[in-house]
């Protein structure tokens, strides 16, 4: 092992590669993440309009058709253009580096999958400008209302929506095939299944769900598209079709989709808590395996979104039981994180704060989730703001906070600079307060009987709506320190050493940022389980020499 393992004076790659068809997973990862945040801002703007409308009972800000289009696109943009792409971005950055692979299994497929995102994103945004406006029947697009097409045009907002979602599915499946093949086939020597970081376990679990679930949505959506443009009657009662059939197709994917969203966040928590508590992950094997129990159960609970739809009693009971069971493997993970923190040496840096805040919100969301699983309670609160509160707690309160944690944590590794801690902590504070203010009041609103997706409401709901809207505006503001931090740190932040957090993992045995082929010819041999904090044992063979070379490279980089 020579000290010249890592080139120290490579010419800096041009920033223009981020705008090109580049097949390096680390470039694609950044592309995904930056593009996703661009759409996050659009989705967030739409949210501000929603909360602006809902701060007063009457429909007095925008026309009802506009409101319906806006809330539909808010959900659609946030799901298909923000959360799935940003998670794929993290997958691209983390999976190859964490398992010691030079790249993904299919680099060109990887790039194609990414470039589909701006394509269908543009289609979706373009739908705002067609004569009938964008899709406006909710991100579920339930027929028959979604296929009413008042103007009768072939190119309608709903048609563009369906096309965009279909393309999103193609992109996701490409990604899933890539991620799964990479994890199964390209791990470093010595990295057996139970030496693989939990993030890779949860990614594998999540991507398996994509592979199994997405085609069902595609099938259902194709049939909806034909009903919309070709005059078929799959879901039209007049032609013998069944609107509830669509709901089954839709939810067969869209329920597992929420696990696609939260499983990687579980992975992030599992990676970060050990680092910032300086302690091994408690019960690593159980945490890893629980991911797949969640996959299995996650595929058999979809009818809990349809309890009031018109499904038989035995079905409601069955799906209620299955849904409640998911809390068991999830609980295993939550307790594992607590066990990791217990008697650790906690450091409350920004990534840790986001993880703690995310865990806090997640436990709350889990409890309202069990309430929603309970059929008699769900009959009362389904399709009300109680549900909106629940899922925003999971998505914003837990998943987005977990994603922010990941970004702050791995920013030094992949960008090569340190983010600013003060701005990070401010971002956390505003986010935590804003999210709770925005989404907690939605629970009493739902219990009182305020339906969701309404452009106006009865005056008795005004109080909590005002609070929720104020919280939303605070959330809007919270993005400012984040953006400032990211941009200024990227441009002129302090150079990052190879392991600023003193973390254990293959990615931390690379320079910051890593070279294009990661370890290249010198893939380390893994000799220990992950998260070996406190044991003093090396993770890989010749670790000391590698660390020496990296530290030397850090010094030389810093002096440049």
């Amino acid at each position: 092992m020579t000290s010249a393992t890592f080139p120290t004076s490579e010419p800096k790659p041009s920033w223009s590669r981020y705008f090109s068809f580049n097949t390096d997973a680390k470039v694609i990862g950044i592309q995904y993440i930056v593009l996703a945040f661009f759409y996050f801002l659009i989705g967030g703007l739409l949210a501000m309009i929603i909360r602006g409308e809902l701060i007063t009972p009457a429909s007095d800000l925008v026309d009802r058709t506009v409101y319906n289009g806006i809330y539909t696109m808010h959900g659609t943009v946030m799901l298909f253009l923000f959360i799935f792409p940003v998670l794929n971005g993290l997958n691209n950055l983390l999976i190859p580096t964490m398992i010691g692979a030079p790249d993904m299994a299919f680099p060109r497929l990887n790039a194609v999958a990414f470039w589909l995102v701006p394509i269908f994103g543009t289609l979706l945004i373009a739908s705002f400008f067609v004569p009938g406006g964008p899709a406006n029947s909710g991100w579920w697009s339930y027929p028959p209302v979604s296929i009413q097409n008042p103007l009768g045009h072939l190119v309608s907002g709903q048609g563009l929506w369906l096309t965009a979602v279909a393309l999103s599915g193609v992109s996701s499946i490409m990604g899933a095939v890539n991620f799964v093949t990479t994890i199964i086939r390209m791990r470093a020597p010595g990295m057996g299944w139970f030496r693989m970081p939990v993030f890779c376990w949860t990614a594998l679990a999540a991507q398996s769900l994509q592979l199994i679930g997405l085609p069902a949505l595609t099938g259902g959506a194709v049939m909806l598209l034909f009903d919309l443009v070709a005059g078929t009657s799959f879901y039209r009662p007049e032609g013998g079709g069944d609107p509830v059939l669509y709901q089954h197709f839709f939810w067969f994917y869209s329920h597992p989709a929420v696990y696609v969203i939260i499983l990687p966040v579980f992975g992030i928590f599992s990676e970060l808590f050990p680092v910032y508590a300086r302690k091994p992950l408690f019960g690593y094997v159980y945490v890893a395996l629980a991911s797949f129990i969640i996959v299995g159960l996650g595929l058999i609970v979809w009818v809990h979104h349809m309890f009031p739809s018109g499904v038989a009693q035995w079905m409601r009971n069955l799906f209620m039981v299955n849904t409640m069971l998911i809390s068991v493997p999830t609980g295993v993970k939550v307790f594992a994180w607590l066990g990791t923190l217990w008697r650790g040496k906690l450091r409350l840096s920004t990534p840790m704060l986001f993880c703690l805040g995310g865990l806090f919100n997640f436990v709350f969301a889990g409890i309202t989730g069990v309430m929603l699983a309970t059929v008699p309670v769900d009959i009362h609160v389904s399709n009300t703001y109680f549900v909106v509160g629940h899922f925003h707690y999971v998505i914003y309160g837990a998943a987005v906070m977990g994603i922010f944690a990941a970004i702050y944590h791995w920013f030094p590794k992949f960008i090569g600079r340190m983010p600013y801690e003060g701005l990070g902590k401010l971002h956390f504070l505003l986010t935590f307060v804003g999210a709770n203010l925005n989404f907690l009041p939605m629970h009493p609103l739902g219990l009182m009987g305020m339906p969701r997706r309404v452009s106006s409401y009865d005056p008795e709901f005004a109080f909590w709506n005002v609070i929720a809207s104020l919280g939303a505006f605070l959330l809007g503001v919270s993005i400012i320190p984040f953006l400032l931090n990211m941009i200024s740190a990227w441009v002129r932040g302090p150079k990052a050493p190879h392991n600023p957090w003193n973390a254990i993992g293959l990615e931390w045995l690379l320079p910051s940022p890593p070279p294009e082929d990661n370890f290249g010819e010198h893939v380390p041999v893994v000799i220990a389980r992950p998260y070996g904090y406190g044991s003093g044992l090396p993770l890989v063979e010749h670790q000391a020499e590698r660390e020496q070379a990296l530290t030397l490279a850090d010094k030389m980089e810093a002096s440049r």
Binding site: F282, S309, A312, W342, K345, P451
Partner: protein, 314 residues
């Protein structure tokens, strides 16, 4: 090779006592929250409401305990297990504890199954059935619908959901209205139909909801238990004026109800309530009204339009 899990530093009587006290506090708080839960819900106006509220209160209490329990651990570690300012060393290398894993898998499993069992009991009592056209059940299930099994529903009301109005037809008395009138403590069967798209028949005060599916007629039973005026809200997104698709439900005693029916029968058909139609006509006069919309269905012609602007109890 990893260090064996170090024994936890012995549970002193003080710490056990402190823990017990804390658990007792959490239990008290949880029970209190369980009681508070009733206040977050509307008045109980049907036989279903106490059952649903009881279940919700139970889950609130249990949930509070779990939430506070987890949060207390988090607060404790954040306060007491912080690294010293310049201490970069690692903590104790505890990798796991199989006994704990078993405990914290088994207890949640039992808890969740207990909740599910309780919920199935409530569900059965509610007897809220979905339509059976789709799923062919071997045995017809007894319709309980929130009333004693020995009493058959006295009243049948057909509910026609449209974009965007609710019409109620009393087949017996041959009366129609856009305001739903029901007799207190008397079971009623609704026949829910939709003329166009999916709607949701939701009365929060009753804690009951059923989607109205076009192409099907769904039977739905309930028994109101409190006189008053309540809201019926469309709960399944149904298009532009979805939010305005609301009607009032008046629960009254039997005499008042027959009087209302009798009076209604003598009224000629007139335009019923449809806020959507009103807004639509105003919209036509605007210069830039927004995006395209399906025009509202004409308001139902009914004997008694009633009102949907009077103050309601829930």
């Amino acid at each position: 090779m990893t260090a064996p899990p170090t024994k936890s530093p012995g549970f002193s009587p003080l710490s056990i006592g402190g823990l017990a006290l804390w658990v007792a506090i959490l239990v008290a708080l949880s029970l209190w929250m369980g009681q508070q839960a009733y206040r977050w819900l509307p008045v109980q106006a049907s036989t279903a409401a106490p059952l649903v509220d009881g279940l919700f209160s139970f889950e609130t209490a249990v949930g509070t305990f779990v939430f506070l329990g987890v949060i207390s651990v988090m607060a404790w570690v954040v306060l007491m297990h912080r690294a010293e300012k310049y201490d970069e060393t690692d903590a104790v290398p505890i990798e796991g504890n199989t006994k704990l894993e078993v405990i914290w898998t088994a207890i949640p499993f039992i808890l969740v199954m207990a909740i599910a069992y309780y919920a199935i009991q409530v569900n059965t009592r509610l007897g809220v059935l979905g339509p059976m056209e789709h799923i062919h059940l071997a045995n017809p299930v007894e319709e309980l619908g929130g009333y004693p099994a020995d009493r058959l529903p006295a009243e049948q009301v057909e509910v026609i959901a449209r974009q965007w109005s609710w019409e109620f037809r009393y087949s017996g008395a041959k009366v129609s209205s856009t305001e739903l009138h029901l007799v207190v403590d008397q079971p009623v069967t609704f026949r829910l139909v939709s003329d166009d798209v999916l709607h949701g028949f939701y009365i929060p005060a009753f804690r009951l909801k059923q989607d109205v599916v076009p192409g099907r007629a769904i039977n739905f039973n309930l028994t109101p238990t409190r006189e008053g005026r309540y809201r019926l809200r469309d709960s399944q997104f149904s298009g532009t004026w979805f939010a305005a698709n609301q009607a009032d439900v008046v629960v009254e005693n039997a005499e008042a109800h027959s009087a209302w029916l009798k009076q209604a029968a003598s009224q000629p058909l007139q335009v019923g309530i449809s806020d959507a139609v009103q807004e639509y006509s105003k919209r036509a006069k605007q210069t830039n009204p927004g995006w395209a919309t399906v025009p509202p269905a004409p308001p139902p012609q009914v004997n008694v339009p009633g009102s949907n602007t009077l103050p309601h109890d829930a």
